[in-house]
Amino acid sequence: MALVSMTVNGKAVSGEVEGRTLLVQFIRENLALTGTHVGCDTSQCGACVIHMDGKAVKACTMLALQAEGSTITTIEGLAKGDDLHPVQQAFKENHGLQCGFCTPGMIMTAVDMIDRIPNLDEETVRAELEGNICRCTGYQNIVKSILDAAETTPA
């Protein structure tokens, strides 16, 4: 076992982990932040996407120890109290989810793409969602939510 420390949603955290402990396990099991989901074991579904040092990454495809010293935001870190993050609000208003399993990863990916890419269009949003799989919605309203949030987010 080894000690790992990082900042998660603005709080300094640490814990004992094995070499093989995945970052997503540490987040869900040690920190009890279960908003970050695990939808596959092939690194393809994106349900586990978080931000590490400002970049969207798959928390299931990193070891907890690889995140030593980093700053992490999970889906729980987006809302300010009762105020949803604009992207969360857009998913709510545009019916961007059905079962909700893929939603945390979708939203973390969406926040990252809106930060990175000015003037998002539908084609770009669909290409950027390559690593996020949704079994329910057919993506239509997810794309709509992201475009809506992009428009209302000041550049």
Partner: protein, 265 residues
């Protein structure tokens, strides 16, 4: 995953020493190939040596007529580098279409070249541009580097440190992505360098990435899409799997080669 130890290396020398110390020790860079492999219990390392944070392996340098990229440089950094966009836009395009944004934020050029997946994109650029692969021990030309599917000239305890690409006169990469994984069903990199003309094909070869000499010769006399679309790669040398039969891949190679040449004009 089986149990293993984890060690974050600070320097290449430290990583090399640890790698040589035990046959069962393994490098990890971006982990985008290795971690899924570990989850399937297809590998059982003693210690994972993380080279992802070594500063000397994270850089993009444009010097003279070449661009050198550190082995632990992420796909996303290559895709967004102004130097790469200026001198080697075909490589920026290639990097921007590997997998998905989260994979590109972790996966590295060194990891991709070391793994030599038969459907990976970077091997086509390295072979198509006659890149030089620098290791902690020596310099390897692209031609002898790629020795077969998932096989390279790297020794067990050798670490890729950087890769040098010459500025081509013209170059383009076009891939037909597998609709599920985004890996190449067929990807063709064409380039005219100051030294020669190259056509490198990934995704299709039964022995991994390969050069298509007949297309190279044809392009030397006439650089146009029509020159290559009529040339067929023999099916015997091609992969046939659930994603596509050999005759389909053979057809795709001719079409992608034509599109790649057209993209340079």
């Amino acid at each position: 995953m089986y149990q293993f130890d984890y060690h974050r290396a600070q320097t290449v020398a430290e990583a090399a020493e640890l790698l040589a110390a035990n046959d069962e020790n393994t490098l990890i860079a971006g982990g985008q190939t290795l971690i899924p492999t570990l989850k399937q219990r297809l590998a059982m390392p003693a210690t994972l040596i993380d080279i992802g944070n070594i500063a000397d392996l994270n850089f993009i340098k444009a010097e003279g007529n070449a661009i050198t990229i550190g082995a632990a440089t992420k796909h996303a950094d290559v895709a967004s580098s102004p130097d790469v966009a200026k001198h080697l836009p075909a490589l920026a395009h290639l990097a921007a279409h590997i997998g998905d944004p989260a994979v590109r934020n972790r996966g590295t050029i060194g990891g991709s070249l070391a793994n030599n997946d038969p459907a990976a994109d970077y091997p086509a650029a390295a072979l198509g541009l006659d890149a030089k692969i620098h290791t902690n021990k020596r310099l390897i030309d692209a031609d002898p580097y790629f020795t077969g599917m998932f096989e390279t000239a790297l020794e067990e305890d050798e670490i890729i440190t950087e890769v040098t690409f010459p500025h081509p006169e013209k170059a383009a990469y076009v891939k037909f992505p597998n609709p599920a994984s985004r890996y190449a069903m067929v990807g063709v990199f064409v380039a005219k360098t100051p030294i020669d003309i190259r056509v490198a094909v990934t995704g299709a070869g039964a022995d991994g990435v390969f050069r298509m000499k007949e297309m190279e010769d044809a392009l030397s006399s006439n650089w146009s899409p029509d020159t290559v679309t009529g040339i067929k790669v023999p099916e015997d040398d091609l992969l046939s799997d659930l994603h596509g039969a050999a005759d389909y891949r053979s057809h795709l190679i001719s079409v992608m080669a034509g599109r790649a040449v057209a993209a340079t004009m």
